[in-house]
């Protein structure tokens, strides 16, 4: 009843404002906005800025690893770079980019006038720049920034951490609050503001995957907050959660961290699954194969993600029964993930395919994510993991699922919806150039890492034995190429915002969904009157 009330008044409000639709002027538009499109835009800009910052740290790492010996940075700083690169990419680039896409697209896809909790939406965005200001500022503090890896295992991060660790903990707390609020907003919006007639099983897949992602966020972000709070206690208040000499256990840290960390990796991939499930049918001009099984597969992946965490810890000495349980559960995830890949391929099969930039990124997503899935399956085999664990094989694996998975998924989404956002078509030639350079650079950077890991190169080392030299050089060249190419993306987007061919309301002839029923660019307020879904 209350829900209907909110909904009705939202409709009534926007009707009353019919004559002053536009945004406020100046900086206050951005500081005070409660508009889902403005907030979505800010999330996307912020995440791209973080992507460049985290990426430039990766460039430092790859420059140091270009050849054996210490050339550019010292090990202390190298460790800060690997740590900050991971933290910024995970929490600053990938997660906010998906929240940005959710803000822009969820209301448009379900026919809602805005997010359900617009003021909280504003706050959850503006917390992020504060959190990252604190996090990045630690680099300039005495003793340097976090240098214990993005997984911050205790006691390296507690007893042996730099003085700035407490600031890092505070930043993680703020990011967590922001994520939880964002997730609550997504769930409230999807469950309450769908257009009449849009039942759960009629929701677009991006909406489904985000709904499930939001539940994952609410389940695990408090766990992350818990583990960093225990660190805070150990560092500043003399407790011994993770210190064996005081009755604690360093392995407890890893259990709690990965209970958060494993669902977290699905948080970073599920929304991309959803977006790709729109893009592939659009450019295949054929409905998505197996909609229902896609929904069930995402649900199954999300549930399984809670019972596989210790596969990150096969070498810590958990008892054999535990080892076997986590091995079997992890292998099981391959089944629903396989179903998704098969469905995408079946969607393309006997379609009528064209390859604009969104489709190129989506197809590369399917191929390369599958390769990352294969190495994931290999890592799941516990005995073999004793050889792979903490080597470059793992680095190759998670970059194969995150770069072509999350990042290519975001690029595909951006090109797919840019015409809707800006009202202009982007420059297709430049976008295809961006794709091919990214594709080649990414594979050149990360594929040789499989070989390095199998040959025995541990991860997180600033210098390496001579037999690893050749592939490291290849990898660095690829990384520089991939990194530099992303500036082209910035140029393409700016160019598209400033002008270009006028975009039709539905610029892609095979696209489906409510977002294509509103004009391009989408007006500041949309769906003040809910559409009818048949």
């Amino acid at each position: 009843m209350a829900v209907t009330g909110v909904f009705m008044s939202a409709v009534a409000d926007t009707h009353a404002q019919d004559h002053h639709h536009g945004p406020a002027k100046g900086i206050s538009r951005w500081l005070l906005t409660t508009n889902h499109k403005d907030i979505g835009t800010m999330y996307l800009i912020f995440s791209f800025a973080m992507f460049l910052l985290g990426g430039s740290m990766a460039m430092v790492i790859r420059a140091e690893l270009f050849q054996p010996g210490l050339q550019i940075v010292q090990p202390e700083f190298f460790n800060q770079m690997t740590t900050m690169h991971g933290l910024i990419m995970v929490f600053g680039a990938v997660m906010p980019a998906f929240v940005g896409l959710a803000n822009w697209m969820l209301p448009l896809m379900i026919g809602a006038p805005d997010m359900a909790l617009p003021r909280m939406n504003n706050w959850s965005f503006w917390l992020l720049p504060c959190a990252f200001l604190i996090l990045v500022s630690t680099l300039f503090m005495e003793g340097g920034g976090p240098n214990f890896g993005w997984t911050f295992y205790a006691p390296l991060s507690t007893t042996y951490g730099p003085p700035s660790t407490t600031f890092f903990i505070f930043a993680v707390h703020i990011m967590g609050i922001s994520s939880i609020m964002g997730a609550i907003n997504v769930i409230a919006t999807i469950l309450n503001l769908r257009a009449p007639g849009m039942t759960l099983m009629k929701m677009p897949l991006f909406v489904w995957t985000w709904l499930i992602t939001a539940f994952l966020l609410i389940a695990v972000m408090p766990v992350l907050a818990g583990v960093v709070t225990m660190m805070l206690m150990d560092i500043n208040f003399g407790t011994s959660f993770f210190d064996a000499s005081g009755g604690g256990d360093p392995v407890l840290f890893q259990h709690v961290f990965w209970f958060f960390g494993h669902p977290e990796v699905y948080i970073m991939i599920l929304p991309a699954f959803g977006a790709v499930s729109h893009i592939i049918p659009a450019f295949s001009r054929k409905p998505l194969f197996g909609y229902a099984s896609m929904v069930y597969a995402v649900g199954a992946i999300a549930l399984l993600s809670f019972v596989v965490w210790a596969h990150h810890m096969f070498t810590v000495g958990i008892p054999i029964v535990g080892q076997l349980f986590f091995m079997y559960a992890t292998m099981l995830i391959a089944v629903p993930t396989g179903v998704k890949v098969f469905n995408w391929v079946a969607t393309m099969f006997r379609g009528s395919l064209t390859f604009e930039a969104p489709m190129l990124f989506a197809v590369a997503f399917v191929i390369l994510f599958t390769i990352g899935g294969f190495s994931g399956l290999m890592l799941a085999i516990a005995p073999a993991d004793f050889q792979y664990h903490d080597t470059y094989f793992v680095v190759a694996h998670f970059h194969y699922v995150l770069v072509p998975g999350a990042i290519f998924g975001i690029f595909a989404s951006a090109y797919f919806w840019l015409p809707k956002w800006t009202g202009h078509m982007y420059d297709e030639t430049l976008a295809k150039t961006h794709f091919w350079l990214s594709f080649v650079g990414m594979n050149l950077a990360f594929f040789p890492m499989h070989f390095l890991g199998l040959a025995g190169m541990p991860r997180r080392i600033p210098d390496y034995a001579l037999q690893f030299a050749d592939f490291n050089m290849v990898s660095s060249v690829g990384a520089f190429m991939f990194g530099a190419t992303q500036l082209l993306f910035l140029f393409i987007v700016v160019k598209c915002i400033r002008g270009g061919k006028e975009a039709a309301a539905k610029p892609w002839d095979g696209a489906e969904g409510l977002e294509w029923t509103v004009p391009s660019p989408a007006p500041y307020h949309t769906f003040s009157t809910p559409p009818e879904v048949k």
């Binding site: 197996g290 054999i320 292998m331 903490d390």
Partner: protein, 374 residues
């Protein structure tokens, strides 16, 4: 399966990448020299080929669609969007493959966890940034430090063949015997890995992990620490030397004798010059990684010793911090890591080197008494 996989791999590799078969372009895991490492290699190749076959099928269908069903080729889209039979099949088939894969994996894992009936027990302790090996039944032990000179790391000298994979004291084991490793750490988590053995185990402060190996082929095997453990994580290699049993027995006897000699040195009367000479060496291996060779440290984590109150004022405080460490910081308790002679030498050295000219010295006997009082 293993032989098949190896042959197929070699063939594929030979056909596709003739230039890459050189050592520096190693593409695959090596089978290693132990039963465990061979079983792991076989699992690795099996799962790899399963992935390759699935990949060929899935990507094959996809590339066929990309090739044949393009709009520019005049393809008209079909309109099917579900098929229950197909969907059930591609859920069940992968599941069956996984079950088949899980069986040998479980067998190998059970074998890897069986540390019973060992013939030699060695305790391995990870330190920032070196390994300690203790032969617990023979009553001796020693540290194993990186032997690569700083000049090679900083590119002032050509890099040697075993750059970063060489140590001053190898871990020596006899061939053909089941060796049990008891793995722990003194400060942060480390991980002890020798790829050729298929042995990797985390070294966790306060806990002891067990693992084992049996090496049949004499030789030198190299590995590294694989858990980020701070600044010099990349600089603490593992080198194991497997030798025939007789040679091993001789080596153990020598080591025991040397340990006994070392203990007697405590009772000897040491001069300042002798202590300074020994202290410089001990300082380089035990202290210089953090406090630097010239005592300048790397503040704030690693304070300078040159001109510091600890090294120039109260001697008792100096002995206390070296022997017992300082909790809550990276300063370890060296009382159990170094002999009384080395402790005395290091403290004497620190009080008289780099312009810390206190002229004071402490003898091994005094350190011995100090430790006994505690």
């Amino acid at each position: 399966m293993r032989v098949h996989a190896q042959r197929a791999g070699a063939l594929l590799g030979g056909l596709m990448f003739p230039a890459w078969s050189m050592a520096d372009w190693t593409l695959n895991m090596t089978p290693g020299v132990t039963g465990t490492s061979n079983e792991i290699f076989s699992l690795h190749m099996t799962i790899l080929w399963i992935c390759v076959v699935i990949g060929v099928v899935v990507f094959g269908v996809m590339f066929w669609s990309i090739f044949a069903h393009r709009k520019s080729q005049g393809a008209k889209p079909a309109n099917f969007h579900e098929n229950t039979l197909v969907e059930i099949l591609w859920t069940i088939i992968p599941f069956v493959i996984l079950v088949v894969m899980a069986i040998p994996a479980t067998a190998t894992l059970v074998d890897m966890y069986d540390t019973s009936e060992s013939e030699v027990d060695i305790k391995i302790t990870g330190y920032q940034w070196k390994w300690q090996y203790e032969y617990i039944n023979e009553d001796f032990g020693y540290f194993s430090n990186l032997a690569t000179p700083r000049d090679q790391i900083e590119n002032r000298q050509a890099k040697g063949e075993n750059y970063l994979l060489e140590v001053d004291n190898h871990l020596v084991i006899p061939v053909g015997k089941k060796i049990r490793f008891l793995v722990t750490a003194n400060d942060v988590i480390h991980s002890w890995w020798v790829p050729d053995f298929g042995v990797k185990k985390d070294a966790i402060p306060g806990f002891i992990n067990e693992t084992w190996t049996r090496v049949d082929k004499p030789g030198i095997y190299r590995g590294q620490c694989t858990e980020l453990c701070g600044k010099d994580h990349g600089f603490m290699p593992v080198v194991v030397e497997a030798v025939p049993e007789e040679e091993y027995n001789t080596w153990v006897a020598e080591k025991k004798e040397a340990a006994e000699r070392e203990r007697q040195l405590t009772q000897k009367d040491w001069t300042m010059a002798e202590l300074m000479e020994r202290g410089e060496k001990a300082y380089q291996t035990a202290c210089a990684a953090c406090h630097q060779a010239d005592g300048s440290g790397a503040p704030p984590a690693f304070p300078a010793l040159k001109g510091s109150p600890i090294a120039t004022q109260d001697m008792a405080a100096h002995i206390d911090i070296v022997v017992n460490g300082k909790s809550g910081t990276a300063m370890q308790a060296f009382g159990n890591q170094l002999s009384e002679v080395d402790l005395a030498a290091v403290i004497t050295y620190e009080r008289n080197a780099w312009g810390n000219n206190t002229g004071e010295m402490v003898t091994p006997k005094e350190i011995f008494d100090y430790k006994n009082q505690q």
